[in-house]
């Protein structure tokens, strides 16, 4: 029996409970926020390349952000960096990535009509939407948005009078992130319960696609770590608004001694990074899940080491909870504790290496189809390796101390987390676009987008490692105020060139995406010849996913190029032949 029913414009596009539409809502909102975040980075890169000069891009900013000469104000530079980080980490790579693909893929790939609770799912999006409105509105506050970095360390975030962005902007940031966390938790609850309960007949956990495994671990990380951010934020709100001293001690501001005694800003860092580090994997794991699927389908080979892949995900998820101290090697931490965190951090290299090895083994001697999705999937693995290598340096306290808070760190996390995840997201969009909109995206524009993005991204982030090794600190408004860094100004200009070029390349994707929704070639039922269940649903979207009975599952999702089979793929719905072994 199908759950399809008559829909009005409002129930179909706005207050919709269909998981596929909610996924699209997350995707489009995430994309819009990605454009905002990317423009912000373009603007502050222009300031870094041409300090003290004006630029046509500054016209995008509210007038009060510039001085009389039309140059960006230093405090607003910090605001841009803060908002860029917040938007990219939470809005694009958490909600945009997980929200889109968890919602879209869970019911379709496990064989369910919808999520366990469509209502909670809808609520999850609308909390996210209101959070978005609040965050964006903080840009237009007179004193500007939050400016103390996306990590909002106190005392800058705890004292409204500290810097311009610590006032209303910071309050709105906190309101927005609280709404965001509530939305994420509602989503996460739903993902976990749906995966555990609503699998179709035959879909045992051992037959789940790796995308679903990755989403499951992501959701578990989310429901366990986001509440700690809430408790961290709650104490911060009490410090800001009610004068408590959880994070504040012995502060003189404008010649006035504050009454706060005994608080510890380091306490904030512990609580914050207890979320902060799992957050890295909340961002990365869905991308790795998507990549597993895309690489296997386009290699026409079973994923290498399925059980090892699941085990590696589990290990990464577990380890991510006991490594947060590696963000805090410079806080006066006991060196012994530092070495413990170094040890746990370096342990993550093991499951990460297992994953990379298995991806490469899947690609090895495969009959590879280089679709745009596949290129981005391989790009994810590539970025994961490049960024992972510098992770070994930063995870080691003895080495980290030398490059702490320099551009080396910026280069590292943008490659390992930013690029890997965003490439994974692009891979997912190119791969599942036909399922989302019933049409194909243009392949040639996809290639152009991939190579443009790949070259520009490395052009931006690779040189940053050298800047960092030369000692250039991150978050500085200008690097021209210090003669010791004068020799680095050319590198800064090159980075800015690639950043702007990279931003222009993204317009190709945006055009391709929106054009293809309306004018793309019509998709066939199973354009990639894939085994998973979503390709057995009708091309036209219906609420309830399958018009008749939900199909049963008889095999795992990776039966590609199976010896003795007629075709190089066998969908999960095809029963095993007599005498056929499962895999």
């Amino acid at each position: 029996m199908s759950d399809h029913h008559k829909e009005t414009f409002i129930t179909k596009y706005i207050f919709c409970q269909d998981h596929k539409m909610i996924a699209k809502q997350f995707l489009i909102t995430g994309m819009l926020m990605a454009v905002v975040g990317m423009l912000m980075s373009a603007i502050f890169r222009v300031q870094l390349a041409n300090p003290g000069e004006t630029s046509i891009l500054y016209n995008l900013l509210p007038g009060s952000w510039l001085n009389e000469a039309g140059v960006l104000n230093p405090d607003k530079y910090l605001a841009l960096v803060t908002m860029h980080g917040t938007i990219l980490v939470f809005w694009v790579l958490t909600a945009g990535l997980s929200g889109t693909f968890a919602n879209f893929l869970i019911p379709l790939q496990i064989g369910a009509r919808d999520m366990a609770s469509g209502f909670l799912n809808m609520l999850s999006y609308w909390f996210f939407f209101v959070a978005t409105v609040v965050l964006v509105s903080s840009i237009y506050v007179e004193s500007g948005p939050a400016s103390s970095g996306w990590t909002i360390y106190p005392p800058l975030s705890a004292l409204p009078q500290a810097i311009p962005g610590s006032g209303t902007g910071m309050t709105l940031w906190l309101v927005s992130i609280t709404l965001f966390v509530v939305g994420s938790l509602l989503g996460g609850l739903n993902y976990i319960v749906t995966i555990l309960n609503l699998r179709t007949k035959g879909m045992s956990m051992q037959r789940l696609p790796l995308t679903i495994w990755a989403i499951l671990f992501t959701a578990i990380l989310g429901v366990l770590s986001f509440p700690v951010l809430l408790s961290c934020g709650l104490l911060l709100i009490f410090d800001r608004s009610f004068g408590t001293s959880f994070y504040l001690s012995d502060i003189i501001i404008n010649g006035e001694m504050l009454h706060n005694t005994g608080g510890s800003p380091i306490l904030f860092e512990h609580l914050f990074w207890f979320l902060g580090h799992p957050e890295v994997y909340i961002i990365l794991l869905p991308a790795l899940g998507i990549v597993s699927e895309v690489i296997s389908v386009n290699s026409r080979k079973p994923i290498f080491g399925y059980k090892a892949m699941v085990g590696a995900l589990m290990l990464i998820a577990f380890l991510s909870f006991i490594v947060w101290g590696h963000h805090m090697f410079m806080t006066g931490m006991n060196p012994f504790l530092g070495s413990v965190f170094t040890f746990t951090t370096l342990l993550i290299a093991i499951p990460s290496a297992i994953k990379v090895f298995n991806y490469l083994a899947t690609l090895w001697r495969a009959n590879i189809r280089f679709t745009p999705a596949m290129l981005f999937a391989i790009g994810t693995v590539s970025a994961f390796i490049t960024g992972g290598l510098t992770g070994l340096i930063l995870g080691d306290s003895a080495l980290d101390i030398n490059v702490h808070d320099t551009y080396f760190v910026v280069g590292h996390f943008h490659i390992v987390m930013g690029l890997s995840a965003i490439y994974g997201m692009f891979a997912g969009v190119y791969h599942w676009f036909p399922k989302m909109y019933g049409r194909m995206m243009n392949k040639h524009l996809g290639y152009l987008h991939f190579w443009g993005t790949f070259i520009c991204a490395y052009g931006v982030f690779f040189p940053m490692h050298f800047l960092g090794l030369a000692g250039l600190p991150r978050r500085y408004y200008t690097n021209s105020a210090f003669p010791m860094f004068d020799g680095l100004s050319d590198i800064n200009s090159i980075i800015t060139f690639f950043a702007l070029a990279g931003a222009v390349v993204q317009t190709i994707f945006l055009f391709n995406f929106f054009y293809s929704i309306f004018k793309g070639t019509k998709a066939t039922q199973n354009p990639w010849k894939s085994n998973t269940l979503e390709w057995t649903t009708p091309i036209e979207r219906i609420h309830g996913n399958w018009p008749g009975e939900i199909p049963s599952v008889h095999r795992w999702p990776y039966d590609y190029s199976k010896p003795g089979a007629d075709e190089d793929f066998i969908p999960q719905t095809v029963p095993l032949k007599e005498g056929e072994k499962e895999h």
């Binding site: 976990i192 700690v228 408790s231 709650l234 009490f238 408590t244 001293s245 608080g263």
Partner: protein, 182 residues
């Protein structure tokens, strides 16, 4: 279908409670870390908090009776209502506990406050905020029970409210012991 539905709702609740537990784990571990750093004023836990403990344990015990009776198809509205009243008494005892703290000179904030007191208030306040959710759930079950909507085969609402209420009891006992003995 309803078996799956019941299981699903219970799991949603369990995972949600796991999330709430992590919220309190965050607060209490912050308490430990902060206390170890010194500049900490010791306080005596208010006597009223003992009454809170007694009330919430009693209310949880009554919910077991509710389950027993509902399985025998007996009316439970009066019992559920008494659990609700005990919940209100819990909230009342918390308010009195805070009054007692103020008279001890332990404040949430202000010049004379110490972070130890601030933690005490924030932790108990957060528990009470979650308890209000439990009270709303109980009230709904009271109304439904009065309308005769529950039976021996259909009492998911009571079960969900009970699980959450037991969770609040266990959470309170943990917080009480934590604040008293740590």
């Amino acid at each position: 279908m309803s078996v799956i539905k019941n299981k699903t709702f219970k799991q949603l609740l369990w995972v949600g409670m796991g999330s709430i537990a992590m919220f309190f784990a965050g607060l209490t571990s912050a308490y430990i870390v902060r206390k170890a750093e010194g500049n900490w004023t010791d306080f005596i836990l208010p006597e009223w908090f003992w009454y809170s403990t007694l009330t919430i344990v009693l209310s949880s015990a009554l919910l077991f009776v509710v389950k027993y009776k509902i399985k025998k198809n007996q009316s439970v509205s009066a019992l559920l209502f008494s659990v609700f009243v005990l919940g209100l008494l819990f909230a009342y005892s918390q308010l009195n506990g805070w009054k007692e703290l103020v008279s001890q000179g332990v404040f949430l904030t202000g010049e004379g406050s110490n972070v130890a007191g601030s933690f005490l208030y924030v932790i108990t306040l957060s528990h009470l905020a979650h308890l209000i959710g439990g009270l709303v759930a109980l009230l709904i079950t009271v109304i439904n029970a009065m309308k005769g909507r529950y039976s021996a085969v259909n009492y998911l609402g009571v079960e969900l409210a009970s699980i959450y209420w037991h969770f609040l009891s266990v959470l309170w006992i943990y917080l009480f012991c934590f604040l008293k003995y740590l």
